[in-house]
């Protein structure tokens, strides 16, 4: 609702548009040009919507009190659409002043009350005070109702004549939240003024201090009744979707036991359409773990004016109705659980210290991003940022499977500009939990799936363009990814964003994202095809998209030109592409987990989160059952009493102690549950971290070891082969050597044999020699004897000769014999003489050489001669 704060003062700065968003300098000129068209369109559509809503109300046959009011507000719209005009500014200011005058006193009082309230709640003081707080809550609610009507009355007395009549009844009805809710359709609540006024008050009264700030803007407002029928239709859709989801779950036999308990009550509630269903509905709306997009549920049959409304939506929702219309589209009424938001906030403030790492991480990220959400937007002042922070924190707490994702800050910021804080929260819940289920979760699976689907459809529809992009090396998803993720916020001009969101929220699915992207591609495809490199293509597409000021052209092209792109078709394609994404994500989880665990930051576990979120849901739903179903008649008898329940029940009032205890115990229980949850989460995180660490370590070690071993083995093998080579070489050498050796051996042997033979010969010869020597010795001996004999004979002969000469007889006998004897003797003597001549030439060698060569018999002969010769020599 902060948009109503955007005044001339802030818009004077040229670089901001009518919504207070920054304009790029290069777009200021074009924006100015289109401003008149916007104004024109706005007037036109205001008229159309007015007619439509009028007829709606007539159709509903409701004597409508607020018709006039509506008309009136539209007159204002007409003026406001020309926002820049001074006259409009004047009227606005006047309005505000009126509000202030009438509301100041009441508000002052309220501020004080609220300061106390905030303080009390946060400090959790004593019982009496607590009870008082409860009273004040009730009081506050009544007051706020009164306040809602009063200033408007001042402004235009006639306008709320009928409302005034009603007022008393409204107040009495607002005794309990339950009734109040059921009454919602009839209550004219102009929260536009409410918040505006409040802000004024806050800035005016300095005593509205920090505590007030922390709590003050938490507001909830019902939307104007004329939108009731639309709201009902959309709520029916929400219920329908949920119902189908539940059915699916029962069919699938969905695991989670606590939910099963609530199933009967759902069916019951569907039939009763009472207040009971709120519990079950919201609990299922939070249980999106298994959810399937069911946005295509068409409410058409029951609502004949559906098509008319569709056309109107495509033409745009009037600026001043937008916030409420969006809420109606999202079905906030059906989603909202009384006090749920406040309890979430209480939980956040209570569990500041005990919150889990994951929560702390979200909180940190949110803190980082808040100043970076529409920086400089005049409405996002300190209070606006506080609201933004609360919404985001509450959402993170509400749906831990998403927690906080960048982009949500922009959505929450945008919603906050159009509606009160709690309404913005519920609208955000509807968008993220339902329309964009699985989009902003830790793994962003659906977002990736959508990109694949989009790329395929692009190829189908713009083959030439995609071919060119392929050729430039540009992937479609590079460009379209950010478009889808930011739902075109900051991508195209605001007028277009809002027009697109109108359709998006009306249709209740993401089809329009695809269609809008197609429309942009269609508009700028030709320019892209002309580009020459990737950078130029992307740059020009970006800059062209951001200057698409013709919102009607864009939205109508999108919605009319791409009718064949519908939810059924998309769902079909998503089913085809999902497995691929899941596979990659799975892989990533594995790796991511390893890395993160190694770092020891258990808080950063992705994979764990899915398990964790289921846990969360269970616990949350139990918490909710414990504390937040006071409207539920079935549950009111359960031991857990909630603040409102206790307060409404006057009997309980009489037992403040008990009540106090109950409240205290409830808070304690919440805290304990929260602690337990975070402890369980932490434990699991640590366990997984530990396991992974161990595994990782082992694995690393082992793989390192294996590598090392392998290297060693390789080295060894190398060495081994070297060795083998060497061995063979050696062997060859050895063999050669052996052969040589053999040869030498042979030679040696033969030589030895030779030697032996020679030795033997020598031996034989020596023996012969010896024999010969002995023979020679014998011969010499014989010779000696023969010589002596010869000497003796010679001496005898000479003696004879003397005797013969004396005796004649002897002479004659002796004469014959000496004749013979003289012949032999003379031979011996002659040989001796010959030998004596030769004696000098012949050495001792003669003995051996002669001996070896002479045969025996002749040698004997000669020997005998020899033997004789030396004798003769001598």
């Amino acid at each position: 609702m902060l948009l109503s704060l955007v005044s001339k003062r802030s818009l004077e700065v040229d670089s901001r548009d009518a919504y207070g968003f920054a304009l790029r300098p290069q777009h200021v000129q074009r924006y100015q040009e289109y401003l008149s068209i916007y104004t024109e369109e706005e007037t036109e559509r205001a008229e159309k919507w007015k007619n439509f809503l009028d007829r709606q109300e007539n159709r509903a046959a409701e004597p409508c009190s607020s018709e006039e009011e509506f008309q009136d507000s539209f007159q204002a719209d007409g003026l406001e659409s020309g926002e820049e005009s001074d006259s409009e500014e004047g009227s606005r200011n006047g309005k505000h002043e009126d509000c202030e005058l009438s509301g100041t006193r009441v508000l002052q009082h309220l501020e004080q009350d609220r300061t106390e309230t905030a303080g009390d709640v946060s400090k959790e003081k004593e019982a009496a005070e607590e009870a008082q707080v409860l009273d004040e809550h009730q009081y506050l609610r009544e007051k706020s109702l009164r306040r809602d009507t009063e200033p408007v009355k001042d402004e235009d007395e006639e306008k709320f004549e009928s409302d005034k009549d009603k007022e008393s009844s409204v107040e009495s009805e607002s005794e309990s939240d339950k009734e109040q809710q059921s009454q919602a359709v009839k209550e004219p609540v102009d929260h536009v003024h409410l918040v505006a006024e409040e802000d004024k008050c806050e800035s005016g009264h300095d005593k509205a201090e920090k505590e007030t700030k922390a709590r003050s803007v938490i507001e909830w407002a019902h939307i104007r009744p004329c939108l009731g029928s639309i709201e009902d239709m959309m709520c029916a859709r929400v219920k329908n979707v949920k119902y189908m989801k539940n059915n699916q779950k029962t069919i699938v036999g969905d695991h989670i036991s606590p939910r099963k308990e609530s199933l009967p009550s759902i069916e019951e509630s569907e039939q009763n359409s009472g207040e009971n269903d709120r519990d079950s509905e919201t609990s299922t709306s939070r249980s999106h773990s298994m959810k399937e997009e069911q946005g295509s549920v068409s409410p058409e049959p029951f609502f004949p004016w559906y098509e008319e409304l569709e056309v109107l939506v495509r033409l745009g929702v009037p600026k001043d109705l937008r916030g409420e219309v969006w809420q109606a589209f999202v079905g906030v009424k059906a989603r909202r659980v009384e006090r749920y938001y406040q309890d979430l906030l209480a939980q956040i403030t209570n569990s500041d210290e005990s919150s889990s790492d994951v929560q702390r991480k979200w909180k940190k990220q949110i803190e980082k991003d808040i100043p970076r959400t529409f920086p400089g937007h005049p409405a996002l002042n300190e209070n606006g940022r506080d609201s933004l922070r609360r919404i985001l924190l509450a959402y993170a707490c509400h749906n831990p499977s998403v927690g906080y994702c960048q982009a949500m800050n922009f959505f929450a910021g945008l919603l906050l500009l159009l509606m009160p804080e709690e309404n913005a929260f519920w609208t955000l819940v509807g968008i993220i939990d339902d329309y964009f289920d699985g989009y902003y979760t830790e793994e962003m699976i659906e977002s990736q799936v959508d990109q694949l689907v989009f790329e395929e459809l692009m190829r189908e529809r713009f083959p030439k363009l995609v071919n060119h992009l392929d050729y430039l090396g540009v992937q479609v998803a590079w460009i379209s990814g950010p478009w889808f993720l930011s739902i075109f916020v900051n991508i195209i001009p605001w007028e277009c964003v809002l027009r697109m969101w109108d359709v998006l929220l009306f249709e209740g699915n993401r089809v329009v994202l695809f269609r809008t992207a197609f429309a942009i591609m269609e508009l700028y495809g030709p320019a892209i095809v002309a580009t020459k490199d990737a950078g130029d293509a992307i740059t020009s597409l970006q800059s062209l998209a951001s200057s698409t000021f013709d919102s009607s052209q864009l939205v109508l092209t999108a919605c009319m030109g791409y009718i064949s792109t519908n939810e059924a078709r998309l769902e079909e394609l998503r089913k085809i592409h999902r497995p691929a994404v899941l596979e990659i994500v799975e892989e990533r989880i594995q790796k991511g987990r390893v890395w993160k665990d190694k770092k020891g930051l258990a808080s950063k576990l992705y994979s764990f989160k899915h398990e964790g979120s289921i846990l969360d849901h269970e616990q949350k739903s139990t918490q909710r059952n414990d504390g937040e179903d006071p409207d539920d008649d079935d549950e009111s008898c359960s031991p857990s009493l909630n603040l409102d329940g206790a307060n409404v029940d006057s009997e309980v009032d009489s037992l403040p102690d008990l009540q106090e205890q109950v409240v205290w115990m409830k808070v304690e229980l919440c805290r304990l549950l929260e602690e337990k949850r975070s402890a369980v989460m932490r434990a699991e995180e640590l366990e997984i971290a530990l396991m992974e660490m161990v595994k990782e370590d082992n694995r690393l070690e082992l793989s390192a070891r294996i590598e090392q071993l392998e290297r060693e083995v390789r080295e060894l093998k190398q060495v081994l082969s070297d060795k083998k080579e060497q061995e063979t070489a050696m062997l060859q050498v050895l063999m050669k050597v052996e052969q040589d050796q053999k040869l030498t051996e042979d030679a040696r042997i033969s030589a030895e044999q030779d030697a032996a033979a020679q030795r033997y010969e020598v031996h034989v010869l020596q023996e012969k020699n010896e024999k010969l020597v002995t023979q020679l010795a014998q011969m010499e001996k014989k010779l000696v004897t023969a010589e002596t004999t010869l000497e003796a004979t010679l001496q005898y002969e000479s003696g004879q000769n003397k005797a013969l000469s004396s005796s004649p007889r002897f002479t004659r006998t002796t004469q014959e014999s000496p004749k013979k004897k003289t012949g032999f003797l003379s031979f011996g003597l002659g040989w001796r003489d010959r030998n004596k001549a030769k004696q000098t030439d012949e050495s001792n060698v003669d003995n051996t050489s002669n001996a070896s060569s002479e045969s025996k018999s002749p040698s004997k002969e000669s020997k005998s001669e020899d033997l004789l010769n030396p004798e003769t020599r001598r």
């Binding site: 970076r372 979760t441 430039l472 090396g473 460009i479 950010p482 950078g535 770092k599």
Partner: protein, 202 residues
């Protein structure tokens, strides 16, 4: 104003259409074109570095980047080659890292940014280094950037740590300040110098 060496005309590096951005550098030796991806923890100033480099602006409260954003800028180096950087500035939040491969795949340069006042962001930088070594192109040029150097009195990551990490991984290291424009142009010039040049083919 921000970039002394930058050329006003983005198209000055007119390139043959055949060059494919998948393979970072096209064949033209005098006019390089490279896909650069910025990675790093949320809020370290990735977008600010790009904005300072491309537009010469600085906005302390710039917008959160959702998904990724694209900008391009051409600079001339001293050896009279021009380099056209096609810069993908990615979202910093952890869960967006699921989409990061889409952007760093085929990138010729990765600039990993951390905030010198935040040890946590330095850890994240280490994560990115690892991730890129595993899944990035093998010949990717990596730079490690310690941003917010102007906040030196709040420094929690010593320069030595940055140098150490960079040296260990063969990266180029520099500390910058997008706020004061310190070292921003130097960063990109240095990257330009380190780009692999295509072999002069006749």
């Amino acid at each position: 104003m921000g970039c002394a060496t930058s050329l006003p005309d983005r198209n000055s590096g007119a390139l043959s259409g055949l060059s494919n951005s998948e393979n970072a550098v096209p064949a033209d030796a005098k006019n390089l074109r490279v896909k650069l991806v910025l990675l790093g923890d949320s809020g370290v100033g990735k977008s600010c570095i790009v904005l300072r480099f491309v537009r010469g602006q600085f906005d302390a409260t710039s917008k959160v980047t959702v998904g990724a954003s694209f900008l391009s800028q051409t600079i001339a180096l001293q050896d009279s080659t021009t380099v056209k950087f096609e810069i993908w500035d990615t979202a910093g939040q952890e869960r967006y890292s699921a989409l990061a491969p889409l952007y760093y795949r085929g990138a010729g340069v990765a600039v990993i940014v951390y905030d010198i006042t935040s040890p946590e962001s330095f850890k994240k930088a280490q994560y990115w280094v690892k991730e890129l070594q595993k899944h990035g192109s093998p010949d990717i040029v990596m730079a490690l950037v310690g941003n917010k150097a102007d906040l030196h009195e709040k420094r929690e990551v010593p320069t030595e740590d940055g140098i150490g990490l960079a040296e260990k991984n063969g990266m180029f290291f520099i500390e910058t300040s997008a706020k004061t424009a310190d070292n921003i142009n130097q960063l990109f010039e240095e990257i330009g110098k380190r780009l692999p040049r295509p072999a002069p083919s006749s």
